[in-house]
């Protein structure tokens, strides 16, 4: 019995949530700087370097700027939904962190709640997140956001199918839907080796799910001005921004848990704590994300849909059937 058991549950959860919120917001802020720096270096620029040493205070400067910008609502907008939409995006983006286990914990120390259907909870919440984007597009009452919102709906539905299919392969291998259980199942072999196809599909669909380049059709600056957030300004725009990066970190965390063995140490390097391994793996995912953005140009919309339905979905289905067949036929 550790000391944590004698404290009432609601206090533990409240403290953990507050702490996690702080950590996650800070991570978001520096993820943004991380992205700007890496993109700059890949484009032969030094990146932000004016605010603080190496531009370390840049996120604070950006936040201050956002707060002092005017909060505009177009005349044609539906005021209630227009104001509500950013919060839908944000709340779902934050909610996911309630079930993510960050490290090995027998007493549930490293997660707020270890739900036994964790992965289902994550997918349920991230699916609601798309409402934030499509409602924002619809409620803005102008054409570019509407187009962005419609695109978001279509794109999310197409890619979420393949994403879930690719994850089901892992669930079959692990035999559980608990995130901690999936990580435990990877003690010996990380799932990206037997599920290499599923891993590739997850990587691609995760980028599409978070509306990041090269699948950022939803905001597509060159065609749709800013897509769903064209009309947003100030703090409300900032909320969308936070939600986007939160989602990025979320899918990186989920990818780490499902395919890269979570907090399991590679090569038997167990003296380094699990949380460090977890963070390294998430950082690797984030780097790949940014690397993708600097390298690949945006998809054409019809090709995006064709790729989703005609390539990813069949391959994911095939992978799922193959995995199921191997598990069913293999002598256990």
């Amino acid at each position: 019995m550790s000391a944590i058991d004698s404290v009432p549950l609601w206090i533990v959860v409240a403290v953990k949530s507050g702490l996690l919120l702080f950590v996650v917001i800070t991570t978001f802020a520096y993820a943004m700087l991380f992205e700007r720096k890496i993109m700059a270096w890949m484009q032969l620029r030094p990146g932000p370097n004016r605010v603080g040493p190496w531009g370390m205070m840049q996120p604070a400067a950006d936040a201050a700027k956002m707060m002092f910008k005017e909060d505009l609502t177009p005349k044609t907008a539906d005021p209630l939904i227009y104001r509500l939409a950013p919060f839908i995006s944000l709340v779902t983006a934050f909610g996911v962190y309630a079930v993510i286990p960050f490290s090995e914990s027998s007493g549930g120390l490293w997660s707020i709640g270890d739900v036994n259907a964790g992965i289902l909870f994550v997918f349920a919440l991230t699916s609601i997140g798309v409402y934030g984007i499509s409602l924002a597009g619809w409620a803005s009452g102008s054409k570019f956001p509407l187009l962005g919102g419609i695109r978001a709906t279509a794109q999310m539905i197409s890619y979420e199918l393949s994403m879930t299919m690719s994850v089901v392969g892992v669930l079959i291998l692990a035999g559980t839907t608990s995130l901690a259980g999936i990580v435990h199942a990877q003690n010996r072999l990380w799932f990206f080796i037997p599920q290499i196809v599923g891993f590739a599909i997850y990587l691609i669909t995760a980028v599409a799910e978070t509306n990041r380049a090269p699948f950022d059709l939803v905001e597509a600056e060159t065609e749709l001005v800013g897509g769903f957030h064209t009309e947003y300004s100030g703090l409300r725009f900032g909320l969308f921004f936070i939600a986007e990066y939160m989602n990025m970190i979320t899918v990186s965390c989920i990818g780490t848990l499902l395919f890269l063995g979570g907090w399991n140490a590679p090569f038997g390097l167990v003296m380094i704590p699990g949380i460090v391994w977890f963070l390294i793996k998430v950082a690797f995912f984030m780097f790949v994300y940014i690397w993708l953005r600097t390298t690949l140009p945006r998809f054409r919309y019809d090709r995006l849909m064709a790729f989703g339905w005609k390539v990813l979905l069949p391959v994911a289905t095939l992978n799922l059937m193959l995995t199921a067949a191997v598990i069913a036929l293999a002598p256990q």
Binding site: I38, W41, M42, Q43, L44, R45, P46, N49, W291, T294, T295, L296
Partner: protein, 199 residues
């Protein structure tokens, strides 16, 4: 179809390799306000009116620069020297000498036209200001202040005679402009007065 799939994959891979290799390359950016690039010796920047060693103005008010100027940026009005207060060694001097730096295209034809090497282009290029009117440089701002020497002809500047641009760039960024390299800018001295004008 399989072949084109792998060809496409290879192309994407090449793209990833390119961006990754650029990640480690040295960035050519010069952090401008703190670090200033060393310009070529004959960089065409702000003008300067030089003097002789005895302090007399080189300009003799001949107006050849005004005629040579393709942008009509220069206005010269010459006047006869008073015998007891000679401004220049010649018969005449420039009573008014104005250059509109917003019209100027920094071609250096005035420099070439000048028979006495009075007008030269210095490497100084930071001329930003808040009002259009302040870009019309009067003679007081163009002339080398008497206490600052005679001004430097382009071929006297360190770094030697041009044509060796590469060597100059390789000498690269310095915070301190080399001795004799920077122009003496009357504007610095007049800055307080201008502030007074702006109110």
């Amino acid at each position: 179809m399989i072949g084109s799939f792998f060809a496409g994959l290879g192309a994407i891979g090449a793209g990833f390799r390119t961006t990754f290799s650029y990640f480690f390359k040295k960035k050519p950016t010069i952090a401008y306000p703190t670090i200033k690039k060393q310009h070529a010796p004959r960089f065409h920047g702000l003008h300067e009116l030089r003097r002789y060693a005895d302090g007399k103005e080189r300009c003799i008010g001949c107006e050849l620069c005004q005629i040579a100027c393709p942008a009509n940026a220069i206005t010269v009005i010459g006047a006869e020297n008073e015998p007891d207060d000679r401004r220049s060694p010649g018969e005449r001097y420039a009573a008014r000498y104005e250059i509109d730096e917003l019209r100027c295209i920094f071609c250096g034809l005035c420099e070439e036209a000048c028979p006495t090497d009075a007008i030269v282009l210095t490497p100084r290029f930071e001329m930003a200001d808040y009002r259009r009117g302040s870009f019309v440089y009067a003679k007081e701002r163009l002339l080398v202040p008497p206490e600052a020497g005679v001004g430097t002809a382009p071929d006297e500047r360190p770094g030697g005679i041009p044509g060796d641009l590469g060597a100059v760039i390789r000498r690269k960024s310095t915070v301190d402009v080399q001795e004799g390299y920077g122009a003496t800018w009357r504007g610095d001295i007049l800055k307080d007065q201008r502030k007074g004008l702006a109110g």
